[in-house]
Structures are given as structure tokens and as C-alpha cells.
Symmetry: C2
Subunit: 255 residues, 2 copies
């Protein structure tokens, strides 16, 4: 039965999607069976994994609203052993539709249930918000991974995120743990180093090393529809995601 | 009567807040009366303009739900002539509360009305989403400014944003114009240049030049609670925002 992990941070542009794509790809490369669920209406995971959104039969919205279609919602990607459920703009309206439904926070949990037996790990990408879709992801999860860009605004948002995690754990999902806080887009500037040391001091037992360095090769890979280990494995970005995947593989009991 | 402009892009981390802070500050420096409205629950505008969120009497949520408090919602900032309405986490619940109300898309328009006579320009910062709060901002606006990071995922999101703008213009606010598309975090890499030329080709009449270069001084300024022209006016970031402000000052008929 797969472990379900949500990658979340309501601050925009901190590397959530880049982390989901490249950790998922690394784990699949090492022989684990991986499912990515894209709960973000931007649908960037599909782009980064070479899946044509216009050709899929069912999306994350279908999975949540009609769980019986779950088996159709899984699509192959550019990486062997890595499947995904595609997110698209139909998720925008979902927020409004779900608000009136009973048990609305548990819809994704129920929908994922029949899929868990086929995978070792499920990674959920989330939008930059703490709305009902992100809450659904947290309720469905065993653990969470928090990417933090080493800049000032990103630091400011952590308190709000921590509050939401506590609320979900207290009211909806007591098993929800924090699997790791990872530093992203880290450059050798004074600001980045100051913020990095503040995060390391605040979360000493949660930090996953090494920091992911800012590296243009990571931003190039999605334009080719492939993860970093297919685009440029020996780049700084390739090496950093490989190192982080080794730590997480162990933390998630996959080895 | 002030012109109301929303800075919007549902892609996260593309420089929306940095643009609102630094354009608003530049215009105030030139003697214009400027109001910033932060419609993002992250509340990063207050941080970047030296306003202590814990000390304010009323926020953007109060402005929308109780417009009669509007006069109390304006706060002084680190810049003379620049006031702001602070955004905070109370905006998260707003999405759910507003969904059941009649005329919910027009709430911010009505709330801003009494304030417009006191300013030359109102700039609204939005969250990285196309939900009800962002739609309220679009309905209240005369024009919009779209920051686009010169990277692949940011390019992908433009079609979805264009769709939402057309919908709002068609159904809710026929006067809504696009005042400009501006390139942000632009670095001299092949990827950034490829994306920049794609955006310039797609929106030749809307592009505002120059591109804002990636510059760490822009990311440092918020940690001191001041805009770039007080932190490091001669930096690349300081120069670029000064140049863009000159173009927009003219485009908005402020000179
Ligand atoms: N370590 C890195 N170095 C350089 N660029 C990066 C790095 N990580 C991500 N990027 C680029 O930065 C941008 C933002 O990253 P990404 O889209 O993964 O963040 P996100 O948190 O998923 O954003 P959103 O909040 O919009 O979902 C993308 O263009 C991506 O390619
Ligand atoms: N031109 C630039 N060069 C370098 N860093 C920048 C630049 N513009 C913004 N930044 C930094 O990049 C990060 C993202 O910018 P910002 O927070 O303004 O984007 P945003 O679109 O408002 O994000 P969100 O979607 O979360 O609201 C911030 O840490 C900011 O300080
Ligand atoms: Mg993303
Ligand atoms: Mg912002």
C-alpha cells in the first residue's frame, strides 16, 4: 500500500511542481512504482512529464467527483514506472462546487483508496493556496514535504502553513506528519544564506539536505517535457534532486 | 477619480507583489497619490512597505464585507503619499463566505468607490489564483498589468489568464482593459531569452519595456520593509522599475 505525500506551500513559485516532477522521476528510475496526482489547475506536472493534457480521458477533477473513473484517470508519462493523474483548469470551479457537499474534505482520500495498492508512493502537487483542494490533499496524506525558497516572502508564509497543518491534523487527519522541509532555489547570496540559516534553526529535525541550488537547467527541462535526470543529470539541479531523493527514499521506507 | 489597476497572474512567484510595491512607490515618489490594496491572504505588500500587519484596525476583508469601514482601512506606509489596505489570512475564509452572496463579484467595486476621489491611482495585488477574490479585483478595475516570468511554466499559464479576462470583460466589467504585459526576473540565459521573444511576439502591442532583470537587491528590499528605490535605487532592479514606472505614468495619464 502506497504512502501518500503532499508537496505544499501556499507561497507561489517556490519549486513545488519542480520538486514533485524530479523526486517522482528519481524514485521511478530506482524501480519504485510512483503515482503523481496534480491537484493544481495550472497543470504544470503534465507539461514537465511530457503528457499532453488535451488528450487525457479523465483528470484530477474527475477523480475527486467520480471516483469510479479512477482507473481511467492514470496516464503514462515520459518516465517508465511513473504514472500521473493530470490537473487542468476544470479544477478552478471545483472549489465552488465542493463547498456545498458533505464530507467534502475527504473526497480525494476516498478516490485514491483503490489506487494505493498499485503503487509504492503517491506524490500530490498542490496549487499556491490553502483552499479546499489543498485541504483534500492534506487529508489524503500520510506525510507532507514543504519546499521553501530561501527568500524573505517565502519565510513569512511558513507560520500560516503551519497553522493550516495543525488544523487539518487536529480535525481531519491525525496521522498527518511532516516528512521534510527542503530549501529550494538556493543561491550563494547573503540573503539566501541568511534565510537558509533561519529555516535550519527553526526546523532542525525536519530539514532535508542538501538545499536545491538555483540552476537554470531545472527551468529548461519542462520546455522539453522531461525531468532533470533526462535533460541534464550531471547539472547542479540534477545532482541535488538525486541527493534529496536518496534521503527521502530512506525516510519513506522504500529501501 | 483614481484609475484602478489590478496586477494579476495565477502563476505563483512571478513578481506580482514586487511589481505592486515598486511601481506604487515610484509613483508616490513622483508626487502622485497612490493606494495599494492587498487582496492576497499572504499579505506580502505590508511586509514590503514596512506596515506591521498585527497593528492595523481594518483589512481588505473588512473593506469587502463592511465597506462603511473603508475610511479606517487605509494605512500609512514607509513611503510618503502611499497608503495601503492590508491583506491577511482572514482573506482565506472569504472565498467560502462570498460564494453564497448575491452580487458577490461586485463587492470590492462598491467598497472602493468612496476611496477613489482621494487618489490618482489604486494598485491591487492578487493571490496566485483565479478565484472569487481575484475576480472581485478584475471587476473593480479599469485596467490590468500582467507580470510574466520569462520561464516555461509561466508562459503556459497565459492562455488560462486570457480566458478569465475575456469572461470578466464579457459578463461583469466591459471597461476592463489590459494596460500592459511586463517581463520579470529576466536573466541573460537562452531559456529566458526564448520565452521573452515568444511573449513579445504574442503581445507586441501590450508589452511594457524594459524587462525587469533578475536582481537579488529586489529580493533583499522586503527584508528591510522598504521598496527598491529606498534600498538600492541604482541597482539593476531599481533602474528597471524606475524605467517601467515612467512608461506606465504616461500610459495611465498621470503626467
Ligand atoms: N532550483 C531551481 N533553480 C532554478 N529554477 C527553478 C528551480 N526550481 C524551480 N525553478 C523554476 O522556477 C519556476 C517556479 O518553480 P515551480 O513552478 O516548480 O514552483 P511552484 O511552487 O510549483 O509554483 P506555483 O506556486 O505556481 O505552483 C519555474 O519556472 C521552475 O522551472
Ligand atoms: N526581478 C527580480 N529579481 C530577483 N528576485 C525577484 C525579482 N522580482 C521578485 N523577486 C523575488 O522573487 C520572489 C517572488 O516574487 P513575488 O513574491 O513578488 O511574486 P508573486 O507573484 O507576488 O508571488 P505569489 O504568487 O506568491 O504572490 C520574492 O522572493 C521576490 O523578492
Ligand atoms: Mg506548481
Ligand atoms: Mg504576491
Amino acid at each position: 500500500r502506497a504512502r501518500v505525500v503532499t508537496v505544499i506551500n501556499q507561497k507561489g513559485g517556490v519549486g513545488k511542481t519542480t520538486t514533485v516532477i524530479n523526486i517522482a522521476a528519481q524514485l521511478a528510475l530506482r524501480g519504485h512504482k510512483v503515482l503523481v496526482v496534480d491537484a493544481d489547475s495550472q497543470g504544470n506536472c503534465a507539461t514537465g512529464l511530457g503528457v499532453d493534457k488535451s488528450k487525457v480521458r479523465a483528470t484530477t477533477r474527475d477523480l475527486i467527483l467520480n471516483p469510479e473513473t479512477a482507473v481511467n484517470a492514470r496516464h503514462a508519462t515520459a518516465v517508465d514506472g511513473l504514472h500521473m493523474v493530470v490537473g487542468d483548469r476544470s479544477l478552478i470551479g471545483l472549489e465552488q462546487e465542493m463547498l456545498r457537499q458533505l464530507g467534502r474534505e475527504h473526497r480525494l482520500t476516498e478516490a485514491l483508496e483503490p489506487l494505493l495498492q498499485h503503487y509504492d508512493i503517491v506524490l500530490i502537487d498542490t496549487p499556491p493556496s490553502l483552499g479546499i483542494v489543498s485541504v483534500n490533499a492534506l487529508v489524503a496524506s500520510d506525510g507532507i514535504l514543504i519546499p521553501v525558497q530561501t527568500e524573505y516572502f517565502a519565510l513569512e508564509g511558513l507560520a500560516m502553513l503551519a497553522g493550516t497543518i495543525r488544523e487539518v491534523r487536529g480535525l481531519l487527519n491525525p496521522k498527518l506528519g511532516v516528512d521534510g522541509v527542503m530549501l529550494t532555489m538556493h543561491a550563494p547570496t547573503l540573503l539566501n544564506q541568511q534565510v537558509a540559516s533561519e529555516v535550519r534553526e527553526a526546523f532542525p529535525e525536519l530539514i532535508v539536505e542538501p538545499a536545491i541550488r538555483r540552476n537554470i537547467r531545472l527551468a529548461e527541462a519542462p520546455s522539453h517535457g522531461i525531468p532533470i535526470h533526462l535533460h541534464d543529470p550531471t547539472s547542479a539541479g540534477g545532482q541535488d534532486y538525486q541527493a534529496i531523493a536518496t534521503v527521502l527514499e530512506r525516510r519513506w521506507g522504500l529501501v
